[in-house]
Symmetry: C2
Subunit: 368 residues, 2 copies
DNA sequence: AACGAGCACTTGTCACTACAACTTTTTCGT
DNA sequence: ACGAAAAAGTTGTAGTGACAAGTGCTCGTT
């Protein structure tokens, strides 16, 4: 089997195309020229070109020649993330997208906005996107900017640059518009409303009724969806009105937490994500509350230290690798057919029950 | 261009494969046999077979022969719907799926459960699914059974038959498990939670605060999601506690409606779907209430008569053709790669504002 | 200067040949 | 009767040759 002549020729041509040897407007060497250059028959050249054609690298016009297609010319993919180290959500995504791009013969351009100040990250993102357009990427995987005042406007600004260049985009994690509005791009992530519902249903199944939701002042659309899910589930149980309350503050803000608890103590805190949950746990302990004995705690994302902290954190697993894989496949599909209907693709997110959500109420009451 | 020899040969072979002339276990005639039979050179035969190979109809083994693949052998798609005439949602779906299957060289087997009694439709569905397995379909588009007591169990029973035969399934409209649970199959539809939120936000933007949600006693998962969306949006406005109420009854049940209204009149009714909304309108008028002057009304689905009735019905558009198209594409993708990650694909559903949701409150109050 | 015929070049189709690599069946020696 | 070798089948690779069909340029005629 091994290396056949047409196989080596296909690979050689792919490599030449990848190295930008051929402009998209000019034809590549003709079949007879190739057959002379590589010392093979025209039959073999045609077989190699057929393979490239089927894989979408080239297209031929009788009488004129063979040309490199847009996909063939621009086998680069851009990935925009607001700081890889900023959340445990990103590293596995970057890894997986890197692997997939290489496997598909693409080159990955990473636009990693690293700056402590969110506003600076927004500016960086814009400049990354401009670079991507200049580099002629075939498509972009985009993680929206969050945690700034006018996040939607900033995201629109970045994405409109890609739109103008007719570059396909797939958004990962969560749309940058608050539900029920949509941005009009493909979005790949988990169903955050459903995730919120599972958490609330789990707590209520333990007999918990007083549930407070912690979120930071400028929270992302995904956190806001999780909150909606908690509310929807509590309402379905008729347990909403007096039992739900928002704690909208930084989880480290002990003064705010003290003030919040003075107005009524919840049986459980649901936090916008695991990072916040762990920080809130520390704040609670500083105020003398134990988790889960005094107050139960649940987060989202299932980051690594969720099962390292004591008590281990009940959370909702975020399938990062799957999100990366599905979003990349979707981007390839959209590159080859830009007329695809924009849609939201949500993957299963399983509830992971650990110690921080505590035991059923009856036994908990015995302890008191 | 017209008909070339290798083209006509590919088409002839496709037709022969479709007519089940070749068993999957036996090889099709060898290249030399085909070249004699069709009086063309082996080169031409190979070109035709190459095309069929690229389209996934056949696979060849050196020394043994060329075989029809599973996809090639079973180019049939099954479609299960619980009564085409039962909702305006189904006819465009059936039309679109028919068109797409034919365009892709598939034959459509329609499993249309028609019976007044929902339990009978469940039994019919099971028998359709058995037929599909016997016919060896390559995949099934499945609209879940609704409106019966143990709908989930019935759907599981039908789908487990397909699972046992390893036949890919795509569910359309909405999953048969109540959120946040998932069935584990691909689901293509709209985001019903978001749809509910848009409706509630629209009403609240008109100044409406008292919103009641009508749903039938055995409602589908989609209706229950829409309800969750309404609740979530109202809660976000802090307008939930005393202003939301469920009206869980048949929209024709005038006695129940009278009793419901006695306990407090809403400013607007949101109904589980348009059919229910139109029926509720008639009931309201029988009790002397005008729509939208006395009580506003909103539905879901944007069925044809939503803009024929007086007043025209405010609703959320259900993109049936798109749902059909996306689900069919997804099914094809899953047939060629069964290891794909199951996911929920939701399409944009736009709010269609018409007369039944009325004018902003200020002007409405002047009328009173 | 404008036009058209012809030419050189491109890809597309088709035929025939030869051999390699592999599998199944047959044959032949033991 | 059995087993190994040979034969006859299959697909895969590679080459040669010829012509058809389409494009673009040149050159000669008007």
């Amino acid at each position: 089997m091994g290396e056949t002549k047409h196989r080596t020729l296909t690979d050689a041509l792919k490599a030449e195309i990848l190295s930008n040897k051929y402009a998209a407007s000019r034809a590549i060497p003709s079949e007879t020229q190739l057959s002379r250059k590589f010392r093979v028959s025209r039959t073999t050249v045609r077989k190699a070109l057929d393979a490239l054609h089927h894989e979408g690298w080239i297209r031929s016009v009788r009488g004129r020649g063979t040309f490199v297609t847009r996909q063939g010319a621009a086998r680069k993919i851009g990935l925009v993330v607001p700081g890889v180290s900023y959340s445990e959500f990103f590293p596995p995504i970057v890894d997986e997208i890197s692997r997939l791009t290489r496997d598909s013969g693409y080159t990955l351009l990473l636009g990693n906005a690293v700056d402590r100040r969110p506003e600076a990250r927004a500016r960086q993102t814009i400049s990354f996107v401009r670079d991507f357009v200049a580099e002629g990427v075939a498509g972009v995987v985009y993680q929206p900017i969050e945690m700034i005042a006018d996040a939607e406007k900033a995201n629109r600004a970045a994405l409109s640059i890609l739109d103008a260049a007719e570059i396909p985009v797939v958004i990962i994690d969560s749309d940058f518009t608050k539900s029920p509005r949509r941005s009009g791009y493909d979005v790949v992530g988990i169903d955050n409303v459903a995730a919120g519902m599972s958490v609330a249903e789990h707590l209520m199944s333990l007999g918990v009724t007083k549930i407070h939701f912690q979120s930071r002042p400028l929270c992302s659309a995904s956190v806001s969806d999780r909150r909606s899910g908690v509310i929807a589930a509590m309402s379905a149980f008729g347990a909403f009105s007096r039992n739900f309350r928002d704690f909208k503050a930084e989880p480290d803000d002990i003064a705010a937490l003290k003030a919040h608890l003075k107005r009524g103590r919840p049986e459980a805190f649901v936090c916008g994500n695991d990072t916040a949950a762990v920080r809130l746990k520390i704040s609670l302990e500083k105020l003398g509350f134990r988790v889960p004995d005094d107050i139960r705690l649940v987060g989202f994302d299932d980051v690594k230290y969720a099962k390292i902290v004591t008590p281990q954190l009940t959370t909702v697993h975020q399938p990062c690798e799957k999100i990366a894989e599905v979003s990349f496949r979707r981007l390839l599909a959209r590159i080859s057919d830009p007329s695809l209907q924009p849609c939201t693709i949500s993957l299963p997110a399983d509830l992971v029950v650990r110690a921080s959500s505590g035991q059923p109420m009856s036994s908990a009451k015995k302890k008191l």
